[in-house]
């Protein structure tokens, strides 16, 4: 069965491109527009990986990951944070929250695929 990836980003184009890229590589995709929306997607379904932006309206990526890590079903789910260059502090916050992997924005679709394949296989 294909692995499922949850993409959380307020930018529709990022969701679309990352989604297309990963679908092309054989992953299943679920997406959410912000942290709050993403929590509703964690409804017991199997999520093998989460890709989340940090800066989002309603609920930012770090609060979202913190909440996710309190859910027993998802506490081991790996998270890739989408960070910006020069925001080391943000990266540290993310890592403290449990998001150990990151991809620096702006990125090429291939870079995303590369990061994902380090963590899970299709």
């Amino acid at each position: 069965m294909a692995k499922t990836i949850l993409i959380v980003d307020d930018s529709a184009s990022i969701r679309q491109v990352v989604g297309l890229t990963l679908k092309g590589a054989g992953y299943d995709i679920v997406d959410a527009v912000d942290g709050k929306d993403a929590l509703t997607k964690l409804d017991g379904r199997k999520i093998n990986l989460v890709i989340s932006d940090v800066n989002m309206p309603n609920m930012d990526g770090i609060s979202f990951v913190k909440q996710m890590k309190t859910m027993p079903a998802y506490k081991f789910t790996p998270v890739i944070m989408l960070t910006t260059e020069g925001s080391e502090a943000m990266k540290r916050d993310g890592q403290a929250a449990g998001a150990k992997a990151w991809v620096v924005k702006p990125f090429q679709p291939a870079q995303m695929l590369d990061a994902v394949s380090k963590l899970i296989l299709p």
């Binding site: 184009s13 990022i14 491109v17 800066n55 998270v79 260059e85 150990k100 702006p106 394949s117």
Partner: protein
């Protein structure tokens, strides 16, 4: 990678334009409340998202520029750089530049020299605001040094890996890293070290206790190999020896690793000589049978344990998650739909209405009672579907109004008048098509009001008015239509000046001094009319108010003016709520059919043929009601009806009676545009198809009202 990004690119453009809009609104809000943290954040987020997305599409010019804007915004957000007024102007200019870059990208063009210089100028100003010290490097700095050269052919890398106990808890699976490593080259040997594994009783199944020693045959460089373990680097002890390393390097490695030296020594020294090649050969020979399977096993066991843990915990988590989901469901959700799909739906609904009317007609002809009953049930549903479909196209006018904040800000700066924009009724909804088309006429009216309406500050002061001029945009619903008002508190229209100008242009005869105010105001909508004594570069460019009127009339709307000398003027635009389908009132004249919008019909009367004064007007409960004979107006022949009826119509406070032969009742009219050859026919705006397949013309009530009033006066 060959991906079809075309569609995603369109999403990107639409999204970025939306973000730029938000950015502008927030910037303008910041102008009045410079410490509004949420607005600063919103501006930052817009720039941040545009940069992030454009990078994905390789739009490097946009990335580079927004990056600089984002830097400044980041500093402002952190409080490192104070937000000064000039900075908002600069950020607005940057916003416009990003929009321009987007336009270039959308057209698939390189930016031209002009844009490039402009961008450079803005960049310079941005860095000035930022100060040199605060710049953030544009390229991601690799935290790892890229030591070590290219490997010699045939040799292997030696990698020592000790994963931290928390890697699994962090969602990192050592196995996937090893598999990924396998994509860089060939892992020709792998030994698993289970030395750290505690006794079973003390073992935490969620922890990782394993270490790995492996040989990788690959021609990538050291940085690539290190990058594989980028995400676990904080959680893992990683040593990489390049191919052909010296014996001393291995000894240092042994000293650095946590395991018992003898055990590692056994592993490495047992290979005899310390070259990587011999090490590999011997290790492979020694352990090839058992080791590779044994290697997989402990990991496999851990994975199995994880699989067992999870289903049990899922149940416990489930109720909690359900709560969260129910809460979410109550919040409004939006779906972004392509406008074409909605248009297609509206067209289909239009066709459904027509064919439904056809079925109704058949049922009535056949006098089939049960069929008629089902048809009327269906007709009700069709009507609901129609209303629902039309509502899908309804958008709030607020977004259009908010765009004018920028226009007012820029124009008032440019012409040196202090003008405030007040917006009301932004929640009023109307058809998307109308919203799209009303922007231009509104812009023109606004500029006109700012340029000619609102007086210069000194004049205002001498008239005892507040120095700051006020411009107001308002929208509200009124009898099946929407009214948009542009009002200013300026000097009002100048009757004498308009009359003089109109005489000069030959629009009215020289003695036309007895026109009513409303008639005089209307003159400014005549083609080629411009009263501005000095032509500024804003309004009065020749494309005058007649274009405004034509644009509004093309939307089946009207515009009228209320003006009071010294107090200001109000331009009132009345528009139908929708352009596609209306509730109409069907009438028969001669052999033809005509429709008027139902909400303009006030009442119907029978015309008494015995009373001869009823030629041009009737007495309607003490009021003079001008009559317009539709048959004469359109020069129709055809048989005379047994008796004539009067349909009293009303628009913008004016009334008239349309004399027709037959009243046919309510009718849902799907309005189709008329071909250009009908452009000269006054009093008709469109056509519609009846259930029988015949064509009916949709009457333009405002034009007919004017005509009736004119006839009565003559």
């Amino acid at each position: 990678m060959s991906l079809d990004l075309g569609e995603a690119l369109q999403t990107f453009f639409a999204e970025s334009r939306g973000l730029l809009q938000d950015m502008e609104e927030s910037l303008l809000r910041l102008e009045s409340e410079s410490d509004d943290a949420e607005s600063i954040n919103a501006v930052f987020r817009a720039a941040h998202t545009i940069k992030g997305s454009s990078g994905m599409f390789g739009l490097d010019a946009i990335v580079a520029f927004t990056h600089k804007v984002e830097n400044l915004l980041d500093q402002v957000r952190n409080g490192a750089v104070p937000l000064k007024e000039g900075m908002i102007g600069l950020l607005l200019a940057c916003r416009d530049h990003i929009e321009r870059l987007l336009d270039f990208a959308a057209a698939g063009e390189e930016m031209d020299a002009d844009a490039r210089t402009h961008g450079e100028a803005l960049t310079a100003q941005l860095s000035q605001c930022l100060g040199k010290s605060a710049t953030v490097p544009a390229e991601a700095v690799s935290p790892l040094e890229s030591a070590g050269g290219r490997p010699m052919a045939g040799d292997t890398w030696h990698i020592s890996l000790r994963f931290g106990q928390d890697v699994l808890k962090n969602g990192m699976d050592p196995l996937s890293f090893l598999r990924y490593l396998g994509t860089l080259g060939e892992i020709c040997h792998l030994a698993t070290l289970a030395d750290a594994l505690p006794a079973a009783a003390e073992m935490d199944p969620e922890c990782c206790y394993l270490g790995f020693e492996l040989c990788l045959k690959s021609d990538v460089d050291k940085a690539r190999i290190e990058a594989v373990f980028e995400f676990v680097r904080d959680d893992c002890d990683l040593h990489i020896l390049p191919p052909g390393s010296k014996q001393a390097d291995y000894l240092r490695l042994i000293a650095a690793l946590p395991e018992d030296n003898a055990r590692l020594g056994e592993l490495l020294v047992a290979s005899g000589a310390m070259t990587a090649r011999e090490l590999e050969m011997i290790l492979t020979a020694q352990e090839s049978a058992g080791a590779s399977q044994a290697t997989q096993k402990p990991l496999g066991e851990i994975l199995v344990e994880r699989q067992i843990v999870q289903p049990e915990l899922v149940n416990a988590a489930l109720s909690k998650q359900k709560d969260a989901r129910n809460r979410q469901a109550q919040e409004a959700k939006f779906i972004r739909v392509h406008a074409d799909k909605l248009d297609h739906l509206i067209n289909l609904v239009g066709e459904l209405v027509i064919s439904g009317a056809g079925v109704g007609l058949q049922a009535a002809r056949n006098k089939d009672a049960t069929l008629m009953e089902s048809v009327s049930g269906m007709a009700r549903l069709v009507e609901d579907i129609r209303d629902g479909a039309m509502r899908l196209r309804m958008v709030e006018i607020g977004e259009t109004f908010n765009r004018f904040r920028r226009v007012v800000r820029d124009v008032s700066k440019e012409i040196g008048k202090d003008i405030e924009l007040v917006i009301e009724g932004e929640g009023t909804e109307l058809d998307k098509t109308v919203v799209d088309k009303i922007g231009d006429p509104l812009t023109h009216l606004m500029r006109n009001a700012m340029d000619h309406g609102i007086e210069p500050a000194e004049l205002r002061a001498s008239r005892g008015k507040p120095v700051k001029g006020t411009l107001k945009l308002n929208a509200y619903h009124e009898s099946g239509g929407i009214v948009i008002e542009v009002s200013d508190d300026g000097g009002g229209l100048n009757r004498e000046r308009i009359l003089a100008k109109a005489r000069e242009k030959g629009l009215i005869p020289d003695d036309g001094g007895n026109l009513s105010d409303a008639e005089v105001w209307k003159l400014i909508f005549e083609a080629g009319f411009s009263t501005a004594e000095q032509v500024s570069n804003l309004s009065g460019r020749g494309v005058g108010m007649d274009v405004v009127r034509r644009n509004i009339e093309a939307l089946r709307g009207t515009v009228d003016i209320e003006s009071h000398a010294g107090l200001g003027s109000i331009f009132r635009i009345r528009l139908p709520l929708t352009l596609a389908i209306i509730d109409g009132f069907l009438m028969g004249v001669g052999d033809g059919h005509y429709v008027v919008p139902l909400d303009m019909v006030q009442e119907c009367l029978e015309l008494d043929p015995a009373r001869s004064e009823q030629r041009d007007y009737i007495n309607l409960r003490g009021e003079v009601l001008p009559l317009l004979r539709v048959k004469e107006h359109f020069g129709l022949g055809g048989r005379a009806g047994r008796r004539e009826n009067v349909v009293v119509v009303n628009s913008a406070g004016r009334k008239a009676g349309l004399v027709v032969d037959e009243l046919k009742g309510e009718f849902q009219a799907v309005i189709k545009p008329l071909a250009a050859m009908f452009a000269k026919v006054r009093g008709v705006t469109g056509s519609t198809i009846l259930g029988s397949g015949e064509v009916a013309l949709v009457l333009e009530v405002p034009a007919l009202l004017t005509e009736a009033a004119r006839k009565l006066a003559a």
